[in-house]
C-alpha cells in the first residue's frame, strides 16, 4: 500500500518520458501506445484515489531529501485524485474519438509528434494537479501553454495559426502576471511551498498595513490565471481558438487546459493564501461579479453567432463564468459547486466538441447553421450524442449540468447575503433560459429535414468513436444521477485540502 504514494510522481515522470518516446515511434504505434498509456495512468490515479479514501488523509511526497520549507513537494488528496481521474478520462476519450479528423487535418507521417504533445500535456496537467509548490506550478503552466499552442497549430491552415498567435499572446500576458504574482508572494513570505507560505501569510495578514500588499499580489496572480482560463472579459479568444482547432485539440483545450488553470488558482487560494485571508480581500467579489457577467455575456454571444463551433465555444465562456462565480461565492458549498462544475463541464464540453465535426461532415464540411439543417438525421449517432451534451448544457435533470446548477443554487442560498443570492439566482435563471434558447434552436435545426435527402448517409461509426462517447455519456449520467456521491467525495477532498 505504501508504494502507492509514489504514483503521483510516476504520472508526471512517465508522461514526460512517453512524450520523448512517441517522438521516436511510428505514428500508428504512437497512437496505440498513448491510448494504452493513458489507460495505465487511469489505473494509477484510481489507486491513489482508493488509497487516500482508505487511509482518510492526504499524503505529501517529498522530492529529494529536503523537507519543507526547502525542497519540492507533491501532494495528493481526494480532490486532486478526482480531478486528475476526470482529466485523464476526458483525455483518453478525446484522443480516441477525434483520431479520424486528426488524420485528415495533419500530415499522417507526423502524427507521432501530435502524441508527443499530448503526452507532454498530460505531464503538465498532472503536475498542476499534484504540485505543492507555486514555482513548479509556474513552470508547468508554461509547458501547458506551449503544448496547447502546439496542438492548436497542427492543423496547418492560416486561421489556426492566427488563432494560435492570439491565444499565445494572451497566454503570455497571463503567465507574466502569474509569475509576477508568485514573485511578489515570495518577496512577502520567503516561501514557495504552499504550506509554509500559508502560515506566513496568516501571520502577515493580521497587520492592516500588509493586507493591501497581499491583496495586490493575489489580484495580479488572479488576473493572470483568469486571462489564461478565459474569464469574462478575457474570453474573446475562445471562438477562434476552439472553432478552428482539430476536434481533439478543441476538446483538450476547452475541457482540460482551461480547467487546469482554474484548479491551480483554486489550489493557490486554498493552500497558499488561505481561505480566512481570502475572505478579507476584495478579489472574491470581483470574481463573483465577473463570473455572473461572463455567464450572461457568453450566452448572448453564443446566440448571436452563426457557426456551431463558435456557439459551443462561447457557451464555454459562460460555463467558465459559473466556476468563477462558485469560487467568488466562497464557503464550502460554493467551492464544492465550482469543483463539481469543473468536472461536469470537462465531460460535457469534450463530448460536444467531438460531435460537432461529425455533424458538419455530413453537411458538406460546413459549420454554418443554415448548412447544418437535417444533419442529425443523416448521422443519427452523432446527433444523439450531441443531444445528450446539449441537454446537459441546458440543465435538464438526470444530466450533469442540472446537478451543477443545483449545487450553485444551494451554495447561494446557504450562507450568502441577499445581494449574493440575487446575483447568483439571476445569473442562473437568465443563463438557463438563454442556454435553452440556443441549444434548443440548434437541436431543432439539426433535426429538421432539409428536403432533398434525409436518409442516414453515415451509419457506420468506428468503435473508437462509440466507446469514448459512451464513456463520456456514462460519466455525464453518473454526475447527474449520483451527484450526492460526488458532492460527498468533493466535501471529503475539501476537508483534506485545507
Amino acid at each position: 500500500m505504501e508504494f502507492i504514494t509514489n504514483f503521483p510522481l510516476f504520472t508526471i515522470v512517465l508522461s514526460l518520458f512517453s512524450g520523448v518516446l512517441c517522438y521516436m515511434l511510428k505514428p500508428r504505434v504512437a497512437k496505440i501506445y498513448t491510448l494504452v498509456y493513458e489507460g495505465f495512468l487511469i489505473l494509477l490515479v484510481s489507486a491513489v484515489l482508493y488509497y487516500v479514501l482508505a487511509t482518510g488523509q492526504a499524503f505529501t511526497y517529498v522530492m529529494g531529501e529536503f523537507p519543507a520549507p526547502w525542497g519540492n513537494e507533491i501532494r495528493a488528496g481526494v480532490l486532486e485524485a478526482m480531478i486528475a481521474l476526470c482529466f485523464l478520462i476526458v483525455m483518453i476519450c478525446s484522443v480516441s474519438a477525434g483520431f479520424r479528423f486528426l488524420k485528415t487535418d495533419m500530415d499522417e507521417s507526423k502524427l507521432n509528434l501530435y502524441f508527443t504533445l499530448v503526452n507532454l500535456m498530460t505531464a503538465a496537467l498532472m503536475s498542476l494537479v499534484w504540485t505543492n509548490d507555486l514555482f513548479t506550478g509556474y513552470v508547468f503552466l508554461e509547458i501547458l501553454t506551449l503544448t496547447s499552442c502546439g496542438v492548436l497549430i497542427v492543423r496547418e491552415i492560416g486561421r489556426t495559426s492566427l488563432a494560435a498567435v492570439r491565444y499565445m499572446i494572451l497566454n503570455l500576458l497571463g503567465s507574466g502576471l502569474f509569475l509576477l504574482g508568485v514573485v511578489l508572494l515570495y518577496d512577502l513570505t520567503g516561501h514557495l511551498l504552499m504550506v509554509p507560505m500559508k502560515e506566513t501569510i496568516a501571520e502577515l495578514a493580521t497587520d492592516p498595513a500588509v493586507l493591501p500588499v497581499i491583496g495586490v499580489a493575489v489580484g495580479i496572480l488572479t488576473i493572470g490565471l483568469s486571462i489564461k482560463s478565459g474569464l469574462f472579459p478575457f474570453h474573446f479568444w475562445m471562438p477562434d481558438t476552439y472553432g478552428w482547432a482539430t476536434p481533439t485539440s478543441a476538446a483538450l483545450l476547452s475541457s482540460l487546459v482551461s480547467k487546469a488553470y482554474i484548479f491551480l488558482l483554486f489550489k493557490t487560494y486554498y493552500r497558499a493564501i488561505g481561505i480566512d485571508v481570502l475572505q478579507q480581500l476584495p478579489i472574491r467579489h470581483v470574481l463573483l461579479v465577473l463570473g455572473a457577467m461572463g455567464i450572461v455575456v457568453g450566452s448572448l454571444q453564443a446566440i448571436h453567432t452563426n457557426n456551431l463551433n463558435h456557439m459551443v465555444a462561447y457557451s464555454s465562456a459562460a460555463q467558465i463564468g459559473y466556476i468563477y462565480m462558485g469560487i467568488g461565492l466562497g464557503g464550502v458549498a460554493g467551492y464544492t459547486a465550482a469543483m463539481f462544475h469543473v468536472m461536469a463541464h470537462a465531460i460535457t464540453k469534450s463530448q460536444l466538441f467531438l460531435t460537432t465535426p461529425r455533424l458538419a461532415e455530413v453537411a458538406g464540411g460546413n459549420l454554418k447553421f443554415q448548412d447544418l439543417q437535417g444533419s442529425a438525421l443523416k448521422t443519427r449517432v452523432a446527433g444523439f450524442y450531441f443531444t445528450i451534451g446539449a441537454f446537459s448544457m441546458i440543465g435538464i435533470p438526470i444530466f450533469a449540468g442540472f446537478s451543477s446548477k443545483l449545487q450553485f443554487a444551494l451554495a447561494a442560498v446557504t450562507g450568502a447575503g441577499i445581494k449574493r443570492i440575487l446575483i447568483v439566482m439571476l445569473a442562473l435563471a437568465v443563463s438557463s433560459m438563454l442556454n435553452a434558447l440556443y441549444f434548443v434552436m440548434t437541436l431543432i435545426r439539426i433535426y429538421t429535414p432539409d428536403g432533398d435527402n434525409n436518409r442516414s448517409v453515415m451509419t457506420h461509426h468506428h468503435i473508437n468513436y462509440h466507446l469514448p462517447m459512451l464513456l463520456l455519456t456514462a460519466a455525464n449520467l453518473l454526475l447527474g444521477l449520483r451527484c450526492d456521491l460526488i458532492v460527498d467525495l468533493i466535501g471529503k477532498g475539501l476537508a483534506m485540502f485545507g
Partner: protein, 126 residues
C-alpha cells in the same frame, strides 16, 4: 512616497519595465514588437527577483575560507528562479518566432490586424 520609491529603486524600475513590456505585448500590432515587449516584461520580473535576492555587503553563496555563517551569503534561490524563468522565456520566444515566420510566409505582413483582414479573403480559411 518618492523616498520609498528611491529606496526600492530597483523594484520600481522592474515594475516600470514590466508595465512597458505588458503594454507592448498587448497593444503593438507588429508581431516582432509584441515579442520584444514580452521579453522586456519577463526581464522586468527577473530584475525584480534578482534585486530581491541580493543583499548589500554579502557574498555569493559559495563557501570560501571556511566561513559557514548564513549571514555571510546571499539567498541563492532567486537566482535559481531567474535561471528557470529565462529558460521558459527563451522557449516561448522560439515558438512564437516560428509561428511568426509561418504567418509571414502566408500573409506577407507582420501586422496582426492586416493578417486577419487578409485571412478573410483566403479561400481555404472561410
Amino acid at each position: 512616497m518618492i523616498t520609498h520609491l528611491w529606496i526600492n529603486n530597483e523594484e520600481a524600475v522592474a515594475i516600470i519595465l514590466f508595465g512597458i513590456g505588458f503594454t507592448m505585448l498587448l497593444f503593438q500590432k507588429n508581431l516582432l514588437k509584441k515579442l520584444i515587449g514580452m521579453n522586456i516584461m519577463d526581464t522586468g520580473t527577473f530584475l525584480f527577483l534578482a534585486s530581491m535576492g541580493y543583499i548589500e555587503g554579502r557574498r555569493p553563496p559559495i563557501v570560501e575560507n571556511g566561513v559557514l555563517e548564513r549571514s555571510a551569503y546571499i539567498n541563492p534561490v532567486p537566482a535559481g528562479l531567474v535561471l528557470t524563468g529565462i529558460v521558459v522565456s527563451v522557449s516561448v520566444t522560439a515558438i512564437m518566432l516560428s509561428l511568426t515566420v509561418r504567418l509571414y510566409k502566408r500573409y506577407h505582413t507582420l501586422d496582426i490586424d492586416e493578417m486577419y483582414e487578409r485571412s478573410k479573403h483566403a479561400a481555404e480559411d472561410r
